[in-house]
């Protein structure tokens, strides 16, 4: 197990997240894709902390904790917006949500 293999895993996860965000038509899945990308970034933070020359400050761990909190806030607000949009337009398909007017 080397640093580069962990990074490759996180890169793969990041790209799958990007794929989900780009390809799915459902608004929720764009959010999920973004969450996946954030998680991939977290893996990087943890990996760089773990593989850093010792002794090191656990900054990576701290940032990961904060990132999780921020992601949670983002998910809450994002999903609330999805529900509001659905109530208004009766759809969550992002193809049909292309107007600022409503």
């Amino acid at each position: 197990m080397t640093l580069s293999i962990v990074l490759v895993v996180s890169a793969a996860l990041f790209c799958i997240g990007l794929l989900a965000a780009l390809s799915r038509r459902h608004a929720i899945f764009i959010l999920i894709g973004i969450e996946m990308m954030l998680a991939a970034a977290n893996i990087n933070f943890i990996a760089f902390w773990r593989f850093a020359p010792q002794p090191a400050q656990p900054t990576g761990v701290m940032i990961a904790i904060f990132a999780i909190a921020i992601a949670a806030a983002e998910a809450a607000v994002g999903l609330a917006m999805v529900i509001t949009v659905y109530r208004h337009f009766r759809t969550t398909n992002v193809d049909q949500l292309n107007q600022l007017k409503g």
Partner: protein, 655 residues
């Protein structure tokens, strides 16, 4: 003799703010509680101000400061604090006292308003913020309260939000003063850069105690700070908001736009006077010269405009602008004490005049045009008597009225200004004009025949006349401590012991000002003795009257220049946004789109070979065309990803 309050002056601004919060907390339905809490808060603040004032009487040069660290950032400390010195103590007393009178008056004036408690909450909030400006011992803290005062003023001018004109006036006041505050803020930053502290006094380390470190930049700093004062005190060229601010309820005009807030600019200049006088030769510095000339221009211009106004409150508003100009001149020529004395006296009699006007308006069922009034002397005797006292104080009738002494003092100081004699003569002209327009107003409103609006007039209730009487008594009583024979207030402010010298009562300059007022009043009586529905000046000099009535077209000039320019800028940036930036965005989107459709086509070509190709081609083309205008989030996201790739490629090419 030190009271406990001298070390806790922050309580004085805190009390009305707490009262405001309480009123808001009680909600809408409790009118009585709102009034009682507001007045009580003011009474407590007044009591504390008195106890803060007493110790300053006995020790000359008295000053207590309470500083503390607000927060640290890095190795920098941001310290703020509160100060109590004669200047602050006198202002505190004036503001709380006048404020109390106006609060009581408002109970009657606003009695039928449906947002009664909100009004008192705002008024209390304003009072607290204003007191905060007075006792702040740090430019930053002063600025914070300064902006809070601006906010309160905005809320109160626009109190009757259902009137479009009130909303517009509130916006105008807010934005115009903000222009000045921008300069003020820059000045604060500059002074912090130069001196490393924003405290005024801190045992020899405050920024006012080491003004020498500012060096040559002191002039610019002073001018930037003066920008703030110009905005707040309605000096030329930012005076345009003040007359419009009369859209607010009359007690507001009395409290904010006559007695206290507009005086904050003058107070500010007096507070940071050491910065203005850095490197003075004979008491002249470039910044002070600017102050003088701005004051002269403002004073004269506003007095001229006031002659041709017909709205009772607007006349008073321009008169306020003119008097503020006078105070600025006084500060500029070195008469700080004279300026502050006039400020204090002006606070009393201008509040009195505004409240009198409010009483008239209330009695006439919200009629404000003086040409429709007349003959109110019999119908509203108390209002008339008190208004006449206020008018004489403002005109500067000597001996018995506070305004007379202070004005005479200012004229005298100005006459000694070594730089030029011109301000002196111009101010003399201004005094004549003041007497003239006040005489005009009195004749129109109270004397002569009753006109249209006066038929239904009635005297105001006791809760409104009582403050008038109290303020009128003060306007007279204050003259005792202002006479040159026993210049107690001046000595109090400058820190000397007061001496009595009766010979100073009779002076040449006194005679001069007496003559000037006489000319003004006489001219007024002569011009307006037979005034009817139309103004005599209008019939004789229509062009001049129109010029003055339209406020010298300054608003229009601003409309054509400053506002037109910003509208043009807005239009240009709108055009840029529509055609340049949007085009760029669409271009980027189109690139992503092209890539996307290419891959789509390839994929479908492989999987569904042949059959659907032609239809897919047509549909793909249509899709390209339609998606170009989509505004879809995924395409933007894809563009971001492609941008990241492009960056990677760029780095690859670099290495």
């Amino acid at each position: 003799m030190n009271f406990w309050i001298t070390n806790n002056v922050w309580l004085i601004p805190a009390t009305p703010i707490v009262a405001a919060l309480l009123i808001l907390g009680f909600g809408k339905r409790t009118r009585l509680i709102a009034a009682v809490v507001a007045v009580l808060g003011q009474v407590v603040a007044l009591t504390m101000s008195i106890f803060a004032f007493l110790p300053t009487l006995h020790a000359h040069g008295f000053r207590t400061v309470e500083d503390f660290t607000w927060f640290n950032f890095g190795d920098q400390q941001l310290r703020i604090g509160f100060v109590l010195d004669p200047l602050a103590a006198a202002m505190l007393l004036m503001i709380t006292f006048v404020g109390l009178c106006i609060f009581v008056f408002s109970i009657g004036y606003m009695g039928k308003d449906k947002n009664f408690s909100r009004f008192f909450a705002y008024l209390s909030f304003f009072s607290g913020a204003m007191l905060g400006v007075i006792v702040a011992n740090s430019l930053l803290l002063l600025f914070v309260f300064w902006e809070l005062v601006g906010l309160a003023s905005y809320l109160l001018i626009g109190f009757w939000i259902e009137r479009p004109s009130a909303a517009a006036a509130a916006k105008k006041a807010f934005i115009t003063t903000r222009i000045g505050d921008m300069g003020f803020f820059l000045g604060i930053l500059w002074i912090y850069h130069k001196s490393g502290t924003l405290l005024f006094y801190e045992a020899g380390h405050g920024c006012l105690e080491n003004v020498e470190v500012l060096g040559a930049s002191a002039t610019f700093i002073a001018l930037l700070i003066f920008c703030g004062a110009v905005g707040k005190s309605g000096q030329f060229p930012l005076h345009v908001w003040l007359p419009d601010a009369m859209e607010g309820p009359t007690p507001v005009s009395a409290l904010i736009h006559a007695a206290t807030m507009v005086a904050a600019g003058v107070f500010l200049v007096a507070r940071v006077y050491p910065i203005f006088s850095v490197g003075a030769i004979n008491g002249i510095t470039p910044s002070l010269t600017v102050v003088v000339w701005i004051g002269v221009v403002t004073g004269l211009m506003a007095a001229l405009i006031a002659v041709a106004q017909c709205d009772i409150k607007r006349i008073l508003a321009y008169s306020t602008v003119s008097q503020l100009g006078l105070m600025m001149v006084s500060l500029g020529v070195g008469g700080v004490a004279a300026g502050i004395m006039h400020l204090l006296a002006h606070g009393f009699f201008k509040a009195l005049l505004f409240l009198g006007a409010g009483s008239v308006i209330h009695g006439l069922h919200h009629e404000q045009d003086i040409r429709k009034m007349g003959g109110l002397r019999k119908l509203m005797p108390i209002t008339f008597a008190t208004y006449a006292i206020g008018m004489m104080a403002l005109s500067g009738v000597p001996f018995f009225f506070s305004g007379g002494w202070t004005k005479e003092e200012i004229l005298q100081t100005t006459s000694h200004w070594p730089a030029s004699r011109a301000p002196y003569y111009l101010l003399m002209f201004g005094v004549v004009l003041t007497a003239l327009y006040m005489t005009r107003q009195i004749i129109y409103v109270f004397l002569g025949n009753r006109r249209a609006a006066s038929e239904q007039a009635h005297e105001s209730p006791g809760v409104m006349t009582l403050p008038l009487i109290v303020l009128a008594a003060c306007a007279i009583a204050l003259s005792i401590v202002l006479t040159p024979a026993w210049p107690w207030l001046e000595d109090y402010l400058t820190g000397h012991a007061a001496k009595f010298d009766a010979s100073l009562l009779i002076q040449l300059t006194l005679l001069v000002s007496f003559v000037l007022v006489g000319i003004g009043v006489g001219l007024g009586v002569w011009m307006y003795r037979r005034a009817g529905e139309t103004d005599p000046l209008q019939t004789k000099q229509p062009a001049l009257f129109r010029f003055l009535e339209n406020k010298m077209w300054i608003d229009e000039i601003y409309d054509r220049t400053v506002i037109a320019l910003s509208a043009l800028m807005a239009r240009v940036s709108d055009w840029m946004d529509r055609h340049v930036w949007d085009g760029l965005v669409r271009g980027v989107g189109a690139i992503g789109q092209i890539v996307a459709t290419l891959t789509t086509d390839a994929d479908e070509g492989v999987i569904n070979a042949g059959v659907d190709e032609t239809t897919d081609g047509a549909r793909g083309l249509g899709r390209v065309m339609s998606r170009l205008h989509s505004g879809q989030i995924q395409i933007y996201l894809g563009a971001v990803a492609l941008g990241m790739l492009a960056l990677l490629l760029f780095y690859a090419w670099l290495t």
